[in-house]
Every structure is written in structure tokens, then in C-alpha cells.
Amino acid sequence: MQPALAITDLTVAYHDKPVLWDVDLEVPASTLMAIVGPNGAGKTTLIKAALGLVRPAAGQTLFYGRPYREQRRLVGYVPQRGSVDWDFPTSVLDVVMMGRYGSLGWFRRPGKAERQHALAALEKVRMADFATRQISQLSGGQQQRVFLARALVQDAQIYFMDEPFQGVDAVTERAIIDLLRDLRANGKTVIVVHHDLQTVPEYFDQVCLINVRRIASGPVAEVFTEANLRATYGGRIAFLGHAEDDEATPSRTEGMLKGVAD
């Protein structure tokens, strides 16, 4: 089957310093993939390069075998919620309707159909009661769910999410997981920049380990191994308890990772 996303030889540099180096990545359709790696590994850059938001020095990105230009309608994007000013004068419903702006055409205003769409998406992320709220009154988790709803109304095939679990409450985390599974059940592909190694095996089917170069990618069961994690994080993280010199490692991680590595 044709992969939902195929990246080949992707290289991105800022001021001559490579942020991504010769990355290849294939994401099968109808899967949930986590992109993990240390800070500054180029995870966000990988997403932005795939979406054409940063210009790569080299490389090619294909969505279902065709370039992004032709497949834009198939792709939805959930940026980091910290990337915008939440004091912007607008309502929750209005932000969600922005997801329809691309398909509305140049001069049509969002109308009843768009409202309906937006309300349905808000329902899915359990934010329907907040539709008329000013966005500055939302908690971090609620902001995140508004961004998810905005991407949902795009009705895309492939979704990119940049750290949707970052600093959210338990309700939001639960809502996002349900949503991800729902999307997968409907044949969608979701690529998520993820920070929490502990939850990778539970939430995702596929994982891509990245640190400027791609270390490994594939099914979690095959790829999410101690050796690969070590190669990705270097000495900055300790695994499986035999790195006694690193006290910062929570014991929960050890157990979780041990199970995976075995």
C-alpha cells in the first residue's frame, strides 16, 4: 500500500547549521506515529519542512505519492499552542472556523455550514460549551483542544500535531487519545511530535527516533529499543536502571522501557 507520507533525503539548515540531515521517513496510512528525540533534534522542523513552512536545503516530501502543493487539502496541521497570542480578540468558534478558510475560496465568508462543522468538531473534543468564549479565558488544555478542533474541520487525511500533550490536564490528554484512535479508525494518519517516552508504546503504532539524523523508524515494537533510544538521546538519558550515575531517571520509565526492550 502506498505510504501516507514519504520523505526522502530531507536536509534543513539554519545559518549553515544543519537542523535535519538527510532524513528518510515513511509513514504507512492509518497509523499513529510519534516523532521523538531530544530538544533541538529537529522534530518541529521536520513537520514544518513537510508542510512547506520552512524551506529545505534538499529533499522531497510526498503525500500519497504526490507533492504537498497538489495534496494540500489532505493535510491538517496542529501547531504548538504557544505559537500564537491567545489574547487575540476572537471567540473559540471563530478560531475553529479558520480551519475552513482554505476550502472556502477567496471571498466567501464562513456561513451556517461552517458553523455546523465547527460545532461538531468542538463536540468531538468536548469543548462545545465553550463555543462563544473569548479565547484568552481558556486553560492550556482547552486551548489545545480548540487547535485540534480547528484541524478537524479541515477534514484532512493526514494530520501533523506539534506536541499536543505538552502541559495539558488529564481530561485533555484523555480527549486527545480518544481523538487519535478515532482518527485512525477512520483511516486517517496522524504524525505527532511527542515528548513523553513513557507513553509512546501505549499511544502509538509507529515511532520515529530523530536527532538531526533519523536514528530509526518503524513499528514501536521493533524500533523503540534501548539501543535506538541510546543512539538518539546519547548520554543525556539513562535506561533500564544500569546507568546508576543518572539519578534523574524516573523508575517508571525504566519499567516501561524494559518491557519494550525485551
Binding site: V84, F88, P89, M98
Partner: protein
């Protein structure tokens, strides 16, 4: 109403109202995009353009001078972007630098022009602080001819400008031509700036962009309402300020309008519900009693 029977005052009121609406509306975008300082730099940078346009054509026609002003404001904006992108100079430093260099160039040209014998240049100095009383029908015609299409464009590209201002990267991911839209929006902000040359002058023009928007933001949480309010605030401060300066002898128009705006903004910051300081203060104080 006797005021408006006077031809000059009628022109002054009309022109200032047009200016106030356009700069109030566009100022909202400048403020929300955090480009208030860019607006300030661009309005100062308009000065050399005015002088050069006059030197090249020898005419004092408002349209020609405005074109010159818009040209050098654009040049400053482009220069700023390329300096920030290609060098390691930070944006605030390059803003300050470009503002000073362009404005300095304008002042040098102006003082050099001052020594030339032709009488026509005498009026150019008024572009520093504005002189509403000098406005004639031709000025107002040009202002309306530029201002009305500007407002129409904002209405046409409303949803694009909104998402561009709130979340430019997301707008790009939707397939909107973000670069082109940014250029258009910046151009419209420059139109607002050059409309104010005659009335407010280049030195204080940025207040005309920032103050109505900042005041309007206090009263509402909706972009549409904010923009209408900012237009109204800009227009009323513009008209009141221009009329005061046109009737009282020797008051420069720009500073007078800016003072009116200052009062409006202060009232908004103090008394607006929810966001106003007094509202906040009393709400905080109540539970302690």
C-alpha cells in the same frame, strides 16, 4: 454647526475623518501583528520620499508627494526585512537604525531645500507635524480616493487577514499565499500612513495607528467590533483635534490630534469594562472587604 459652514473647516473635518477611519482600521492589524514600531519607522521613513518627490517633479500635488512617501516607506520596510534576515542585527536595533537614517536623510534634504529660492517648497515643513488648516479640496479628494479602496480591500480579504494576523504559519498550511497577503497588508498600512502626512505629519503618525486600536481593544473581545470602534475613535479624535488646531491660531495639528487620542486611550484604559484598570481594581478589592 456654524463651524461646518466654513469651507476650510469642512475640508479639514472630512479629511481628518477619512484619515482617522483608515488609520484606526489598519492600525488594528499593525497592533495585533506587533508591528506598531514598524509603523513608526515607516512613517518617519516617508519624509525623504516626500522631499525627493517634490525635487523630481517640482510639484506640490498631494498624490505625487504621497507616492514618494509610500515609496520610501516601502523601501525602509524592505531594508528592515533584509537586514533582519541576512545579518545578526536584531529587529529592534535595525528598526531604530532605519528610522533614524531615513528620517535624518529627510531632514537634511528638507533643510537643504529650505535655502533654495523657489517659494513652493515653503509648505514641505508642515509634513513634520501636520497642518490641517492648509488642506484644500484636492487633498481631501486624494485622501478619499485612496482611503475608500483601502477599506474595501480590508473587507474583501477579511478572513485572510484575520487568520494571517492570528496564526500566520497555520494560514500558510491552509495554502494561503501568506507572503503576498503580508505585502498587501503592509501596503495598506503604508496607505494609512501617507494619508496622515498632511494632517498629522510623519513624526506622530504612528500614534494614529496605535492609539485607536489600543483603545478599541479595551472595549471588546471581537476583532470586527474592535476595528469598527478603532475607526470611530480615530475619526473622532482626528476631527476634533484638526478643528481645534484649525480654529486656534498656531497650534500644530498633529500634536493636537495626538492629545485627543491620548485622552480617548486613557479613558479606555481606565474605564472599560473587564479590561479597564478601575474595573479590575474594584473586582480585586471586593472579596477583601
Amino acid at each position: 454647526m456654524e463651524l461646518f459652514a466654513d469651507y476650510t473647516l469642512r475640508m479639514v473635518a472630512l479629511g481628518s475623518a477619512m484619515l482617522g477611519i483608515v488609520s484606526g482600521v489598519l492600525g488594528c492589524f499593525a497592533v495585533l501583528r506587533r508591528q506598531a514600531l514598524l509603523g513608526d519607522a515607516m512613517s518617519h521613513a516617508a519624509l525623504p520620499g516626500i522631499v525627493v518627490a517634490f525635487l523630481l517633479t517640482g510639484q506640490r500635488d498631494p498624490l505625487i508627494l504621497m507616492l514618494g512617501a509610500a515609496g520610501s516607506a516601502w523601501l525602509a520596510a524592505l531594508l528592515l526585512m533584509s537586514v533582519t534576515r541576512t545579518t545578526r542585527v536584531k529587529e529592534d536595533s535595525s528598526l531604530a537604525l532605519i528610522l533614524a537614517v531615513f528620517f535624518g536623510t529627510g531632514l537634511v534634504l528638507l533643510s537643504w531645500l529650505q535655502q533654495r529660492p523657489d517659494a513652493a517648497q515653503a509648505g514641505l515643513r508642515s509634513f513634520l507635524f501636520g497642518q490641517a488648516a492648509a488642506m484644500v479640496a484636492r487633498d481631501v479628494q486624494v485622501m478619499v480616493a485612496l482611503g475608500v479602496p483601502t477599506l474595501v480591500l480590508v473587507a474583501l480579504f477579511w478572513k485572510q487577514f484575520k487568520v494571517l494576523t492570528f496564526d500566520p504559519e497555520y494560514a500558510a498550511s491552509l495554502g494561503l499565499p501568506v507572503r503576498g497577503l503580508s505585502v498587501l497588508l503592509t501596503s495598506l498600512i503604508i496607505v494609512a500612513i501617507v494619508l496622515g502626512l498632511q494632517t498629522v505629519g510623519v513624526v506622530l503618525m504612528s500614534a494614529m495607528l496605535v492609539a485607536p486600536a489600543a483603545a478599541a481593544r479595551q472595549w471588546t473581545d471581537r476583532l470586527g467590533v474592535m476595528i469598527v470602534l478603532a475607526g470611530l475613535f480615530g475619526a473622532s479624535a482626528g476631527v476634533v483635534g484638526a478643528l481645534i488646531s484649525a480654529t486656534a491660531r498656531g497650534l500644530a495639528t498633529g500634536p493636537t490630534i495626538v492629545l485627543c487620542l491620548g485622552v480617548l486611550t486613557l479613558v479606555s484604559f481606565l474605564f472599560a469594562p473587564n479590561r479597564g484598570l478601575i474595573w479590575r481594581y474594584t473586582r480585586q478589592a471586593v472579596p477583601q472587604v
